[in-house]
Amino acid sequence: MKYRTQKIAYWFFASALVLLSLQLVYGFIMGFARVGYDTLHPWIPFNTARAVHTNLLVVWLLCGFMGAAHFIIPEEAERELEWPWLAHAQLISLLVVGVIAIGCYHFNIWEGRKFLEIPRPLDWLVVVNVLAFLANIGVTLWRGTRHTTTSLVLYMGLLFAALLYLPGMLQVDNQTVDSFYRWWVVHLWVEGVWELIMGGILAYLLIKLTGVDREVIEKWLYIIVGLTFLSGILGTGHHYYFIGTPRYWLWIGGIFSALEPLAFLGMAIFAIAMSKKGGRRHPNRIALTWSLGCAVMAFVGAGFLGMAHTLPSVNRFTHGTLVTAMHGHMAFWGAYAMIVLAMIAYALPLLTGRRLWDTPIANWAFWTSNIGMTAMTGALAVAGITQVNLERRIGLDFLAVQKEIEMHFVGFLLAAALFTLGIALYIVHFCRHGLPTDEALSRAEEDLPADWVPVAK
C-alpha cells in the first residue's frame, strides 16, 4: 500500500463479505422452501427471499467493485484519494439504503421488477450515492499524475454502470416496453460494462502479480473489452426473443450473443498466458489463484453455460426455467464474485501488513467454494434439464414436474453447504489479517518481505 487513503478499501471489502453471508442465508431459505420446508413462508415468502438474495448479490458486488476502485485508483493515479470523508459517508449511506430496501421487501414494499426491486424513492438515493462515488474517484483520477488504461477502463465501467441504471427507472404501462429497458440495466451490466470493471481489475492484478509489462497487458485489455461490446450490445437481443418485440431479434440476438463467449474465452487465455509469461514468482499466490480461477470460471459459467441456451431454438424451451438459474449462479460467481474475492486476496496483506498469503485456510477456501459452486450448478442443471423435458417438451403440469425434481434440490442444498463452508473459510482468512494500518504504508512497488527469495518452481 502506497497511499493512506487506500485503507478505505478495507471497509468496502468487509461490508461486501457481510452482505455475501446474508445473501447465502436467504439462498438457503429458498432452497429449503423448494424441498418442502417453507416454515418461514408467513414472514419471508419466496419472493421476499429471492429479492433479498439477488439484491444483496448486486450490492455486495458493487461494494466490492467500489473497494477495488478505492484501492486501485490512488495507486494508478499516484495520489491520495480526493475526499476520504466522502468515501466513508458514501459507504455508510450505501449500506443504510441497502438495509432499508431489504427491510421493505419483508413488508411487501417494492417495485416487483426482477433485479430492480428497490422501491422508487430509494432508487434516487442510490443514484446520488453512486454519483458521489464517481465524483470522488473521478477527481482523484483527473488530478492524478498518471492516466493508465487500466484505471480508465475501470472508471468507464463504473461510470456506464451508473448511467445504464437510469433506463431501468422508466415507468411505462406496456409490459413489453418495461422489459425492454429493464434489460438495458440487467444485460448491459453483466454482459457489458461490468466486464469492463472485471477486465480492469483483472488487468491490474495481472500487472501486479505476474510482473508482465503494463503495455502488453493493457493492449489485450482493449481487445477483450472491444470483443465484449462488439458482441454484448446487440447480444441484448437474446432477451428480446419472446417478450413481444419484432422477430428480427431472434437472429440478431442469436448471432451476436453467440459471439459473447469470445470475450470470456479471451479473458481466460489472456490470464493464463500472462501468468505463464511472467511466471508465478509473486509470493501472494492465492491472489493469483483467484485471478486465474476467476477468468476460467467466468468462461465456464458465462461463456460456455450462456452459450448452451442462447440460441433461439434452444432458448424457446429453456427460457424461464431452472436452466437459467443454473447459468445465473455460475456466471455471477465466476465473473464477478471471484474477481472481487481475488482483489480482496491481493489487497488484504498490503492493507494490513500481514503476509498471510498462501496459507492452508486460504487454499481450502478457494477449492471448497469452487467445488461447491460447481456441484450446485450441476444440481441445477439436472433439475433444469428435467424440467425442460417434462414441462416444455412433454407438456406436464408445472407443479407435478416440480415435485419430480425436488430431490435434485436436496443435492443442491448439500452442494450449497459445501460452498458456504468455503466462503466461511474465506471470511476466517479475511479476519485473521486484522485491521488496516498505516504501518503497512510503503513506497515500494510491491510489499515483499525483505528476505524473500524467488522460488524457482
Partner: protein, 324 residues
Amino acid sequence: MSASASGRFTQAERFRQCKPGRLPLRTNPRRALPVGTGEGAGKECPRPGSIDRGQGVVGHGCQAVLSDETFKQREGTMLSKSQARLFFLGGTGLFGAAFLALTVDSMRQIPALTHEDRLTEPVARGKRIWEDNNCMGCHTLFGEGAYYAPELTQVVQRRGKPWIAMFLRDPEKMFPGERRMVKYDFTQEQIGDLIAFLEWCGGVNLQGFPPEPPLRALMRPAAVTSAGGTPAPEIYQTICAACHSVGGAGGVVGPALDEVHRRKTREEMLVWIEDPQKIKPGTAMPLIEMTPAQREEIVDYLLSLAATPAPAAPKPQTPAETYE
C-alpha cells in the same frame, strides 16, 4: 540500478531481478519476455551477462531492461496498443449505434405487436398491482421472473377468468398441501384488474412462446382423448377440470371422474359439491361458490359419462387422494 551500490536491492527490485543462478531460458527473441517500457524500464539487471542487448533478449524472466524501440518493434508487429484501442472504440461506436437504431424501430413496432389499443386503464392498474406485490418473485411472465411458480403469460386462456378469480381469493384452498402462494387480500376490483392485465399479456405476440410441447402428442394414447357424454359445461371446464380429469384430460389433484357415476348417486354428488368439507373434513377439495343451477349442470354432465364406455387406456397418473 539505484540500490545496487549498497549491495542490497529494494523489495521491488528484488522482485524484478533475475532468478539467481539461472541461465537464460529463452533465447528465441520472438518468445522472450517483452518488457521494459513500463515499471521496470530503465533499471539495469543486477546480473550482467545474462542480457543480450543487441537483440533485446531478456531470457530468464528478468523484468529489468528492454529498450523502448525493441519493445515496440516486438509487440508492434502484430497489433499495437493504439490499434487495439481503435478496435475497442470503433466496435463500440458502430454496434452501439446499430443497437440504438434497432431500439427506435422496436419502439415503432411494439404497439402493434402488443395490441396497445387493448391496453386499457384496468390493464395498466393490473400491471401496477403485479409490480407492487412482486408477483415476478415467484412466477414468470413472458418467461421472465422466478422459477418457483407457474408461467402466467397465457393463464387466462388456460384457466379462464372464474377459476383465477376464485384462486386469488384463497390460493391455498385450491392447492392444499402444495407449494404455497401468499394470500393477498385483493378487492374484487383489484382481482378484475389483475385478470385484465394477464389477459392482455396473453394477447401479446411472443413469437411462438411458450412453445407447444413437441412430444405431447406422442405421450397421449389416442383412445383416451375421446371423452364421451354431453359436452362439458363451462363451469366444469374452467373450475373442476383444473383438478380432475375425464378421459385422461384435466388435472391430477383430485381423482379422475370418468366413473364417478358408479360410486355416487345424483344426490350424493350434489351435496358433496355444495360443501366437500362438511362431508369429509380435511379433504383437499375446496368449497366452490356456485349457483344451484351450475351444480345441477355439472352433475348432469358427470352422469352423462355413464353412457360412454370407460376408456380402455390406463389412467394417466395416480390421484393424490380419493374421496371414497
